[in-house]
C-alpha cells in the first residue's frame, strides 16, 4: 500500500510527458504533464516547509478547483501533513469553526474574495466570536479556541497588488522560495515523503452537517486507496480516461475520483475555465467518467426539458419517438432482457437521430459510467438518463467510508435501489433497521473529537451510518432515509419525508420541497387530527417556471412575484397532484405553500451540497408550518433575508395556502412526458 505523493512520483517517472492536469485558461486548454506536476508539488512542499508546516499539521485549502488546489494537497501530504478542503462559499462562523478545530496555520486561498474573508476573520478578536459560537449549544470547547492562521497563500493575485498584510504570500513566490531551498538540501524531501505511511491522514473532509456544525472526518491514504481499488475492480478506470473536475474538492466525491482514482489509475483531470463555462467545457472534454450529486442530473434534465420545449414540432416529435424507443430498451435491459430484432434496429436509428445528439449536447457522449450520490435521485430522472443511453448508477456511501460503499452493477440497475456493496465491504442491517458498513475504507475518526468517533464506529469496526434501509429480494440495498427521520402514520404506514419530497421534487418546476406530517409544527407528530395529513413547503425552480411563464405570456419581476402568481399555484397544484397519484392515500400531500424565496446556504437553510436543513426550516418557518397544519387559507410571513455581503433585510409577505383535498386536475388534460414541461 502506497501514499498519494509516492504514486505521483511513480507516475512522473513512468509517464513524464503525458498530461496529468489541464486547465482552460485564456481560451486554451493548458496542460500540465506528470513530471511538471511532480516538480511543482516538490517546489511547493519545500516552500510550505519553510513556512513551518510539519508532519502532523493540517493545511487548509479554500477555493475553486484549480491545479494549485491539487498541488497544495499533494505538497502537504509529501511533508506528512494533511489537507482540509473548505467549500469556497463558506462564510465566517463556518470558516472559523473548521480553521480552529483543525488548528490550521497555513491556508491556501484562491483569490481576493477568499483572502478578504480570511483577513476579516483574523481581525475579529476571538472574544467577539465567542458568544455566537455559544449560541449553537454545541457545548464543545473547540468553539472558543484561537484562530492560529499565520500564513495565507493565494494563487490568483488579481486585486491583491495593494495588499500589504505580511501574512500574505503568492503561490508562485512560495514555489520559488521552495526551489531555492531544494537546492540547499537535496534528498531531504524524498526522505520526508518516504517517512509517511499509508495510515497517515491524507485528507480531512468536512461532513455535510445537515444536523449540526460540520465535523472533520480523517481519511488516510490507505482508506482512499482501498476505496479506489475496490471501486475500479467493479468499474475499471484507465489511464486514457478523461475526467472533468468542477465540484468542490472539499466534497469527498470529488476527492474520490479526481485524487484517489486519478492518482492510482493515472487519469487526466480537466478544470473548467469559469463557473459559467462549466457546461461547455464539459462538452469540449467529453469525460468518460463522472460523479455528481443529484442536483446536477436534475438540472441537466431540466435543461433538456426547457430546450425541447423551445424546439419546433419536428424536433419534439423526433425526440419523443426516439425517447420512447430508448425507454423501452432501457426497461427491457433493467429486467435482464435484450431488445427484440425490430426494437434493436429502431434503437439504432433512434440513437442516431434523437438520443446521441442530446447526449452530445449534455457533454455525455463519451460517458462509460457515471454516478449519482450524496442524496436520493428520483427514479424518473434515473429512467430518463438510461433511456437516452447514459449509464447512470447510484452510489451509496458517506464521507466516513470515503464516499462509497455500495454501487449499482452495470447489468443490475434497479431505479429504487442503491446497488450492492463493492468488494471488500461488509454490510449488515441491525434489528431496528440501521445500515452498518465495514471495510478498509472506514475512516480513522473525527478530527480531535474521539467521543463522537466512538459513537459512529464501534469496537468491531462497524460504521453506524444512521440510515435506515433494507435489502430487496435480489440482495440490493434500499435506503429509506436517515433512521431518525423515518415516521409512521396513524394507520401504521412507515414512510420518510424524503421519499415524498423526492416525488415532489421530480417535477421540473419544484426545486425543493419539505413535507410535514400532522398539525404540530415540526412535523414529527403522529397526531393526524381532523386537519392532519401531509403538508408541504415548496420552492420553485426559477429557470423552468420562468420559461413556462414566458410561454404562458405571464409577466413577472422577481422570484417572490413569480411565486405569488395564481397561475403558478395552479401549475404546482397539478404537479403535486401528479406526485400524489404514486403515493398511498395516508401520506398524500393535502396542502402546500409556495415559499416566497429559494432556500439559500447563506441563510443556513440548505447545506453547501444543497441538502435541506430541516431543523432550521422548522424553526424559521414555524408559523407557516402551523398554518399549513391547521388548514388556514393564507399566512403572513416576516422574512429576514441575508445578502451575500452579510446585510439582512426584513419584509412582510402574504403566502397563500393551497388546499388539494377538493382539487381535481381539469378534465381533458393528459400527462406530460418526462422530458418535457408541456403536454
Amino acid at each position: 500500500m502506497s501514499t498519494f505523493p509516492k504514486l505521483l512520483a511513480t507516475l512522473a517517472t513512468e509517464r513524464p510527458n503525458e498530461v496529468a492536469l489541464q486547465e482552460k485558461r485564456y481560451g486554451i486548454w493548458q496542460p500540465l504533464t506528470w513530471s511538471s506536476y511532480d516538480a511543482r508539488v516538490r517546489d511547493f512542499a519545500h516552500g510550505l516547509a519553510s513556512l513551518g508546516v510539519e508532519r502532523g499539521d493540517v493545511v487548509a485549502v479554500l477555493g475553486d478547483n484549480r491545479p494549485e488546489w491539487l498541488i497544495a494537497e499533494l505538497a502537504a501530504q509529501t511533508l506528512g501533513a494533511a489537507v482540509v478542503g473548505i467549500f469556497p462559499t463558506s462564510l465566517n462562523e463556518e470558516l472559523r469553526h473548521i480553521l480552529t478545530l483543525a488548528r490550521v496555520k497555513v491556508v491556501v486561498a484562491e483569490d481576493q474574495e477568499q483572502v478578504d474573508k480570511l483577513l476579516r476573520l483574523r481581525l475579529e478578536t476571538p472574544a467577539a466570536a465567542e458568544p455566537k459560537a455559544g449560541d449553537d449549544a454545541q457545548g464543545d470547547d473547540e468553539a472558543a479556541a484561537e484562530l492560529l492562521v499565520e500564513t495565507v497563500i493565494y494563487y490568483d493575485p488579481h486585486g491583491l497588488e495593494s495588499y500589504t498584510d505580511p501574512c500574505l504570500k503568492e503561490f508562485t513566490d512560495v514555489e520559488a522560495l521552495g526551489r531555492d531551498l531544494a537546492a540547499l538540501r537535496p534528498g531531504w524531501l524524498d526522505a520526508e515523503r518516504d517517512k509517511s505511511g499509508p495510515d497517515d491522514i491524507a485528507i480531512i473532509c468536512t461532513t455535510s452537517g445537515t444536523t449540526s456544525r460540520p465535523k472533520l472526518g480523517e481519511l488516510s491514504h490507505a482508506n482512499l486507496l482501498a476505496m479506489a481499488e475496490h471501486l475500479t475492480s467493479v468499474d475499471p478506470i484507465g489511464a486514457k480516461d478523461r475526467y472533468v473536475s468542477f465540484l468542490p474538492f472539499a466534497w469527498i466525491g470529488e476527492q474520490m475520483l479526481a485524487v484517489a482514482c486519478g492518482l492510482s489509475r493515472g487519469l487526466t483531470v480537466s478544470f473548467p475555465e469559469d463557473a459559467l463555462t462549466q457546461r461547455s467545457d464539459l462538452r469540449e472534454i467529453g469525460p468518460n467518467v463522472m460523479f455528481s450529486p443529484p442536483r446536477i442530473w436534475e438540472s441537466m434534465l431540466s435543461e433538456v426539458q426547457v430546450r425541447i420545449d423551445e424546439a419546433g414540432w419536428l424536433k419534439r416529435s423526433v425526440f419523443g419517438w426516439a425517447y420512447n424507443v430508448g425507454d423501452k430498451v432501457a426497461g427491457r435491459r433493467g429486467k435482464g432482457q435484450g431488445p427484440g430484432l425490430g426494437l434493436a434496429l429502431a434503437h439504432r436509428v433512434a440513437d442516431v437521430v434523437g438520443l446521441h445528439p442530446v447526449r452530445d449536447q449534455l457533454g455525455l457522449a463519451r460517458i462509460k459510467r457515471c454516478y449519482t450520490g450524496g442524496a436520493p435521485l428520483g427514479p424518473d430522472v434515473f429512467r430518463f438518463f438510461h433511456a437516452i443511453g447514459v449509464n447512470l448508477k447510484q452510489i451509496y456511501g458517506q464521507t466516513e467510508i470515503c464516499g462509497i460503499a455500495v454501487v449499482h452493477r452495470d447489468d443490475a440497475i434497479a431505479f429504487n435501489t442503491v446497488g450492492s456493496p463493492i468488494p471488500g465491504t461488509e454490510l449488515r442491517i441491525t434489528d431496528n433497521g440501521e445500515i452498518l458498513l465495514r471495510s478498509a475504507s472506514v475512516f480513522r475518526g473525527y478530527h480531535r473529537q474521539p467521543e463522537v468517533t466512538a459513537e459512529t464506529v464501534d469496537a468491531e469496526g462497524w460504521l453506524h451510518t444512521g440510515d435506515a434501509g433494507y435489502l430487496d429480494e435480489a440482495g440490493q440495498l434500499i435506503v429509506i432515509d436517515r433512521a431518525k427521520d423515518v415516521l409512521q402514520t396513524a394507520d401504521g404506514t412507515r414512510f420518510s419525508s424524503a421519499f415524498i419530497e423526492n416525488k415532489l421534487k421530480f417535477s421540473p418546476y419544484i426545486e425543493e420541497a419539505v413535507t410535514f406530517f400532522g398539525d404540530s409544527a415540526g412535523g414529527n407528530g403522529t397526531g393526524g387530527a381532523e386537519h392532519g395529513g401531509m403538508t408541504a413547503l415548496v420552492t420553485l425552480d426559477p429557470l423552468t417556471v420562468g420559461s413556462w411563464a414566458e410561454h404562458e405570456h405571464l409577466s413577472y419581476t422577481t422570484y417572490s412575484d413569480l411565486a405569488s402568481k395564481p397561475e403558478v399555484h395552479t401549475l404546482v397544484a397539478e404537479e403535486v397532484d401528479r406526485a400524489n397519484q404514486d403515493l398511498p392515500e395516508s401520506i398524500r400531500v393535502r396542502r402546500f405553500v409556495i415559499l416566497h424565496k429559494q432556500f439559500d446556504p447563506d441563510d443556513d437553510e440548505i447545506t453547501r451540497t444543497r441538502k435541506v436543513r430541516r431543523s432550521v426550516i422548522n424553526k424559521r418557518y414555524a408559523d407557516i408550518i402551523t398554518a399549513l397544519g391547521k388548514g388556514e387559507p393564507s399566512v403572513q410571513v416576516h422574512s429576514s433575508v441575508t445578502y451575500q455581503d452579510g446585510t439582512t433585510v426584513e419584509r412582510t409577505i402574504d403566502l397563500r395556502i393551497f388546499d388539494l383535498t377538493s382539487y381535481a386536475v381539469p378534465a381533458g388534460q393528459g400527462r406530460r412526458p418526462v422530458w418535457s414541461g408541456r403536454r
Binding site: R25, Y26, H158
Partner: protein, 285 residues
C-alpha cells in the same frame, strides 16, 4: 507560465501617476446658434477616475466627443500628454482639437459609446480583436493568407485580448454573437473593446445607463478593476450619483455647457451651484 498575473499592461500612458494627463482649455463648441460648450476648462490627472456629471443636455457627451475627435470645437485646446518615451516627433503633448479621430485613437484615447456601437453579428472575440486593429501592422497579402508574421502577430494580439476577457469575465460569451447577448453583457464588451486598444485614456460614456442596481454594481466593479488592476485613467460620464460619488477621484459638473464645479466628490456634493443645477434648488440637504 506559472503565475496567474496578467502578462500585458493595459495602460499605455507614459505619464507617471499623479501628473497631468489631459488639459481641457477654454473649449467652446457651437452648432449654428446653439452653444453646446462655453469656455470649459479642467484637467485630468493620470491614475484618476474623473467623472463628468450634469443634467440632460449639459454637454457631457459633446465634451467627450471633443476629446475623441468626433467634434472639433471652435475655440480652445485639448492637450494630451503622452509621457517622454512615447512622444512622436520628439513632442510629449498633443493638441487634439485639430486631429482626426483615428490619429487620436493612435495616441491611446479609447472610448465606449452611450448607445452600444458594436458589430452585432460578430462574436465577442471578433469585436475585441477589432480593438487591436490599430496595433496590427502587416500587409494585405500576408493577412489574407494568414501566414508567417501576420499569423504570429494575430496570436500575440489574441493573448492580450484573452487577458481582457479574463479581467471582464467574458469567458462564457467568447464565441457568441454580440447581438444575441444581454444588454449588460454588451456594455461590458464595449468596455472590453476600448481596453483592447491599450488606452492611455479611457472615455466611458454612460457605461451604466439603463441598468438595474445589480448590473450597475457589477459594472462599477469592472470599472474599478480596470482602474485598479490595469492602472488606466478613466473619464466617466454617469447619471447615477451614488455610483459617481462612490468611485470617482474627481468630479466635474456641467450645466448648459458651462463648467459650474470641479473638485473631489465631497467638495462637489457641498457646492451650492451644483445642488441648485443638478438636484433642484429646493432639495437643499
Amino acid at each position: 507560465m506559472l503565475t496567474r498575473a496578467y502578462q500585458h499592461t493595459l495602460n499605455s500612458s507614459g505619464v507617471p501617476a499623479g501628473q497631468l494627463l489631459l488639459e481641457v482649455q477654454d473649449v467652446s463648441l457651437r452648432f449654428g446658434g446653439v452653444s453646446a460648450l462655453t469656455d470649459v476648462s479642467f484637467t485630468v490627472t493620470q491614475g484618476h477616475i474623473h467623472s463628468v456629471i450634469g443634467p440632460n443636455g449639459a454637454g457631457k457627451s459633446s465634451l467627450l466627443n471633443c476629446v475623441s475627435g468626433l467634434y472639433h470645437p471652435q475655440d480652445g485646446n485639448v492637450l494630451l500628454h503622452t509621457g517622454a518615451d512615447q512622444g512622436a516627433r520628439g513632442t510629449t503633448s498633443h493638441e487634439l482639437t485639430r486631429l482626426p479621430p483615428h490619429r487620436i485613437a493612435r495616441l491611446g484615447v479609447a472610448r465606449s459609446f452611450q448607445n452600444i456601437e458594436l458589430f452585432a453579428h460578430l462574436t465577442v472575440l471578433e469585436n475585441l480583436m477589432l480593438g487591436r486593429h490599430i496595433h496590427m501592422r502587416h500587409s494585405v497579402a500576408a493577412s489574407l493568407l494568414w501566414f508567417g508574421p501576420a499569423r504570429n502577430q494575430e496570436i500575440a494580439h489574441r493573448a492580450l485580448v484573452e487577458e481582457v476577457i479574463d479581467l471582464l469575465q467574458l469567458q462564457a460569451y467568447r464565441h457568441q454573437a454580440v447581438g444575441s447577448l444581454a444588454y449588460g453583457i454588451q456594455k461590458r464588451v464595449e468596455l472590453g473593446r476600448a481596453l483592447c486598444i491599450q488606452p492611455a485614456l479611457l472615455l466611458l460614456d454612460e457605461p451604466m445607463a439603463g441598468m438595474n442596481a445589480e448590473e450597475k454594481e457589477d459594472m462599477a466593479r469592472y470599472v474599478l478593476d480596470v482602474h485598479e488592476l490595469a492602472g488606466v485613467t478613466v473619464i466617466l460620464i454617469e447619471h447615477d450619483m451614488n455610483v459617481v460619488m462612490d468611485i470617482s477621484d474627481r468630479v466635474s459638473v456641467l450645466d448648459f455647457g458651462r463648467l459650474i464645479a470641479d473638485g473631489t466628490p465631497d467638495e462637489v456634493k457641498a457646492n451650492p451651484a451644483v445642488i441648485e443645477a443638478y438636484l433642484g434648488a429646493e432639495v437643499l440637504v
